[in-house]
């Protein structure tokens, strides 16, 4: 489904990602871990078209998406959340979610300006669908609150719901549980796993807390200084000497 071939990206002289390859099958949940600055977010930025890779290609469902604009990649069915939350802060939670359904909606300019019945109907349906999804993530009580005024944990949940309403095939989650304690993080990931099953999603997950990612990912790619130092099941990764070494500098979170 997602196939990345020898992806390399430089920031000036800095090699942020080097020769990264991955092959993800439908319905898989793959983890991407590594110490700070390893290049994880950069890989998301390369997949979603925020940066153009220096070398390498990104294929999705057999199509080469390398160099596509971000909005086109999203419309192809790849969507992400952000490590540094990027909500539409002064818009309400429900509007944040509805915005992301934009390209699935059909109302043309004229229908919108005349507020034709077809427009009204589509707006109502979108609103209801957004509210339903928000409810699954426990956001019902804040639908009308400006997204920027929520605590971070809930903002991350809004981000996930917002990503989901684009009706993606592949969901890229960049540290969705950041700032949560391990218990909250595991709860959220369990929810994500359930959603993935319900919506037949494929997920690539960046996560800092090792126990969290160990619990949900079927395969894990470990990055360090842009290079892939290990690939394997959570068990294999846990005992991999290179991984332990890489994480030692961080106080061995394992």
């Amino acid at each position: 489904m997602l196939k990345i071939d020898h992806l390399t990206h430089y920031f000036g002289g800095l090699k942020a990602v080097e020769d990264f390859s991955i092959d993800i099958q439908p319905r898989q949940m793959i983890g991407l871990i590594g110490p700070n600055g390893a290049g994880k977010t950069t890989i998301f930025n390369l997949i979603t078209g925020v940066y153009k890779p220096t070398q390498g290609h990104v294929y999705f469902d057999g199509e080469d998406l390398t160099g596509f604009k971000p909005w086109r990649i999203t419309q192809h069915g790849i969507v992400r959340t952000f490590q540094n939350i990027r909500l539409f802060s002064t818009m309400s939670v429900i509007e944040n979610i509805m915005v992301a359904h934009h390209f699935r909606m059909k109302a043309g300019l004229l229908a919108s300006i005349l507020r034709l019945p077809s427009f009204i109907k589509e707006e109502r349906e979108t609103r209801e669908m957004a509210a339903k999804l928000a409810d699954i993530f426990g956001l019902s009580d804040v639908l009308e609150t400006p997204a920027g005024s929520l605590p971070y944990g809930r903002q991350r949940r809004v981000e996930i719901v917002r990503a989901l309403v684009t009706e993606p095939k592949l969901l890229l989650l960049d540290e969705p549980a950041a700032g949560m304690n391990p218990k909250e993080a595991l709860e959220l990931l369990a929810l994500i796993k359930k959603i993935a099953e319900d919506f037949k999603l494929t997920i690539l997950l960046i996560e800092h807390q090792m126990p969290v990612v160990m619990g949900v990912a079927e395969r894990i790619h470990v990055l360090d200084f842009g290079r892939t130092i290990a690939v394997g099941t959570p068990k294999e990764i846990q005992n991999h000497p290179k991984v332990i070494e890489a994480y030692l500098g961080e106080g061995a979170k394992l």
């Binding site: 925020v50 909005w71 109302a107 707006e123 009308e144 684009t166």
Partner: protein
């Protein structure tokens, strides 16, 4: 809940009809003289300009500094059409002139839209940081262009120059209270409905966080251009109306200083508030008219006023708030809860 919508909008319609009736009756009884009527008409024209600029700068978060350029473009297009193409004069009966004027207004909007598209597309594709510079330049270029465009018109025996540095004079007085009010109300309705649709939401999302909007599948260039073109269109329409109330145009009227006046209205009223733009445009137009006797001094007063406002009220008079009738029901419930 459905009743609520009908109520606010119903009151608004009722209010409009009452205001329209009162003003018309007062005018017919000479309690409101032509001078006052002219100010009222200018207030509405400036409101069209402020609201349409707000769509670009306030709602979409772009920074256009060339709104007067689009206004004057529309003004000239409409002025040329009524005076040179249709040869409307003061003697032409209004019922004959009106359809011609409507065509002129539509043409003005269309040309301004086209110019907006030709400027907006290449610039907004790159980065909107350039938009300010380019629109300032546009205002100056348009001034030069209208300095050059002139026609020799045979006025039955003697040849008259029309256009050029002298400006365009002898434009027939066709913008009356009724017509301008209709266009004004239509503008508000169109822009309001645009904003409360998926298209408007896309524009606001771009303002709020461009990267996120882009990554949620919104073609950001398309929506920036759309907002810019839509705003420019209404500026052109307003220019057509303006030309036919002040009855003369001068190339300098499309320049930077004039654009700043519209910017002030938008900021004073509140970036992202239709209501605010209308209030500010009405207020500033009236005030500056009454301050006319003090001449250029009022520009100084403007400046001081602006500084005080920016310090004391950075969000403008209305912030992002709207009159209830300008917000559709669903959205209004949200506003109410905030």
């Amino acid at each position: 809940m459905k009743k609520l919508t009908n109520k606010a909008v119903l009151f608004a319609i009722l209010g409009l009809v009452v205001v329209y009736g009162i003003v018309t009756i007062l005018h017919q009884n000479h309690i409101l003289n032509d001078y006052i009527m002219r100010i009222i008409i200018l207030m509405m024209i400036n409101a069209i300009l402020a609201v349409s600029l707000n769509l670009i700068n306030g709602f979409t978060g772009l920074f256009s500094v060339g709104h007067a350029g689009f206004m004057i473009t529309g003004g000239y297009v409409a002025g040329f059409i009524t005076t040179l193409v249709f040869k409307v004069t003061a003697e032409t009966p209004y019922y004959q002139a009106l359809p011609m004027f409507v065509i002129a207004i539509l043409a003005a909007g269309a040309v301004s839209a086209l110019v907006g598209f030709l400027i907006g597309l290449p610039v907004l594709r790159l980065s909107d940081d350039y938009l300010a510079i380019v629109t300032i330049g546009f205002g100056e270029i348009i001034r030069v262009i209208f300095n050059f465009i002139s026609f020799k018109v045979d006025k039955g025996g003697w040849v008259q120059d029309v256009g050029g540095p002298r400006g365009l004079s002898g434009i027939p007085l066709l913008s009356n209270f009724t017509l301008v009010m209709i266009v004004f109300v239509l503008t508000i309705i169109i822009i309001r409905n645009f904003i409360y649709s998926r298209h408007g939401r896309a524009c606001i999302a771009i303002r709020e966080n461009e990267v996120a909007a882009h990554l949620m599948g919104i073609n950001i260039t398309k929506y920036k251009v759309m907002a810019f073109v839509l705003g420019s269109t209404f500026a052109g329409v307003a220019g057509a109306l303006l030309a036919h109330i002040i009855q003369m145009l001068h190339p300098t009227m499309g320049g930077f200083m004039k654009s700043v006046e519209y910017l002030i209205m938008v900021y004073l009223g509140g970036m992202g508030s239709i209501s605010g733009s209308v209030i500010a445009a009405f207020g500033l137009t009236a005030v500056s008219e009454f301050l006319r006797p003090i001449g250029e001094l009022r520009m100084v007063l403007y400046g001081v006023l602006l500084i005080i406002l920016m310090l004391k009220m950075p969000a403008g008079l209305m912030g992002r708030k709207e009159f209830p009738f300008l917000v559709p029901l669903k959205e209004r419930q949200i506003h109410a809860k905030n």
